[in-house]
Symmetry: C2
Subunit: 385 residues, 2 copies
Amino acid sequence: MPAKGESVDADAVIVGGGVIGTAIAWQAASAGLAVTLIDPDSDAGKASLVAAGMLGPVSESVFGERDLLNLNLLAVGRFPGFNQELEEATGLVTGLRTEGTLAVAYDSGDLAALRRLTEFRHSIGLKAETLDAKQCRALEPFLAPGTRGGVLATGDLSVDNRRYLAALKAAAVKAGVTHLTGTVTAVTAEPAGASVRARLGDAPGTTELTARDVVVAAGFATSRLDGVPDKIRQAVRPVKGQLLRLRHPEHMPPIATRTIRATVQGRDIYIVPRADGEVVVGATQEERDDRDVTVGAVHDLLRDAVTALPAISELILAEASAGLRPGSNDNGPIVGRVHEGLVMATGHFRNGILLSAATADAVAAILAGRDPDAAWAPFHPGRLG
Amino acid sequence: MPAKGESVDADAVIVGGGVIGTAIAWQAASAGLAVTLIDPDSDAGKASLVAAGMLGPVSESVFGERDLLNLNLLAVGRFPGFNQELEEATGLVTGLRTEGTLAVAYDSGDLAALRRLTEFRHSIGLKAETLDAKQCRALEPFLAPGTRGGVLATGDLSVDNRRYLAALKAAAVKAGVTHLTGTVTAVTAEPAGASVRARLGDAPGTTELTARDVVVAAGFATSRLDGVPDKIRQAVRPVKGQLLRLRHPEHMPPIATRTIRATVQGRDIYIVPRADGEVVVGATQEERDDRDVTVGAVHDLLRDAVTALPAISELILAEASAGLRPGSNDNGPIVGRVHEGLVMATGHFRNGILLSAATADAVAAILAGRDPDAAWAPFHPGRLG
């Protein structure tokens, strides 16, 4: 560990190469910092890759999470500009879609619940348009005949999360980020300086890297990282999500144009179509820490998808996968400086893709000694005690 | 093509390396013939690998296919001895199971149908034991509470079709079979001699191999093979089957001990447990020639499996795959000498694994100039006109 004022290996060492860590690395390096990112580079189960890429602050907003809604609105407002910078920096296309989200209901109970949520959303100034069954099917002709009505959230976006992460990686490399393959085993941040200890590639033993700041963007694995304060470790837990990736057979017209959400027998399902013909169906929320794809979860997802869009039966089941999202004990992300040398960016739960751009802005500001947007104040790690 | 009496490249060239072709190659080589087997070696969609390995002549027997039943009984009688020779020749274990098949019913209509089939089976001398719901659950405790009753076919076996094919390949190699990777584009069998034309490995153009006999064991692709008589080509078609491979999570007790068959809403489903914890759920029968795994098929298989064995929800969905089985226009295999130099062994449809041992015996006899068992007579290619 360097004495204060000594040279360090990097201005910032980022722990974790999902969308959060990689977006931060890109932005920090673009701002002129020397950035090193350490990631196991094992794509298996990486939550950023298992996601659907819904950017749905409006259709995701629920009663009682006003601070999170404010943050999500900040994030979705920032996303298109950030994404455009990303596409311009890399020449890659991320598949951003702007057709909104259509939430549909199949019985009068569902419909009433949807209407109450819409009233709440209107009351806080969100745009959501109530549609009858005919209007729903005019927008999405493959909806089930039993569709009773719905609500269109025009402000919701979606992005191809895999293309998006690939573009972030490419942008980070172009901006000069040093990418190391390895697993960080401990972080240290004391007045004398910050460092991480990691097993790198094929190197024997562990390697220490010093930095002005260590940024922990390790998702649910933050809970297992030595040196992270106990209150934070205890606040983060894995929440398993299983989802399906479907493809259209050749010559089949697109089954949907926009994200479709439905509640089927009390279970929420979403169907996210991509412009390239992929359709993502998700997702379970399970308090488990394995990445097994299970019969029960795939069955439920398929059944609910077929209920919403019967013609989806004709699609190809290309992949079923499971990831572990970083849940937090109040469902909010944990982003901010813990103390000198240590910055947290985890706990993004179901909103990692959505919040990635805004998180990158916030952490880049923090690393530069500035305050992030006020919408982040409720999500400072200090709230955890 | 060699003139009569000239030396040839092999005594027998086998076209196709599924269980039928490979079993024939092993037996023919063991009988002293010089055998060459040509197979694309692309495992994708090979019907032998997508199968479940049920050896169920009793539970598969239906009204009106008496000749096929006789053949299937010959085949299941031969299988254990053949399999033992195979395990002894290779030191490999194929996972043969002898616990039988339990067919179950969920409503009085299903139960009545099952009882009628049992009476028919008894009338032709097959063993099938009628069980009430309690007896069914005593055998298989994880059966759904709604199980009304069932029938136990003790004579049915099952084998791990993938281990079995791997063992056949190893045995063929040990017996001296020459294995070529390639695709046969045409077969020729004239009084002057027999030959195949094939694209082999990375070799440019096509290669001709001469033989005393060409054995076509090309599954559904027989219908596309130049030189096969038109009547046979027209009699063979691909019948798509999709099935699932599940695995038990660690520490979970086996969900079933024997093959379970059920009719759920008119669809037949089978669940085949392996000793190593794998469980195969199958299978669709679709008149299609693609190998796409579809949402609708996987959904139906999962729903029906969960209906029969609710606790199957806890298993891991390890694989969903599709294969193309060689259906024939009378559901019977097509096995026999067409004319000098050309022997057929295809059209095994749903019974390829079951019939493989008996087919190998039959074709080895034919190649040696002997008649196969009389049970094969109805399945000679000559019946196709």
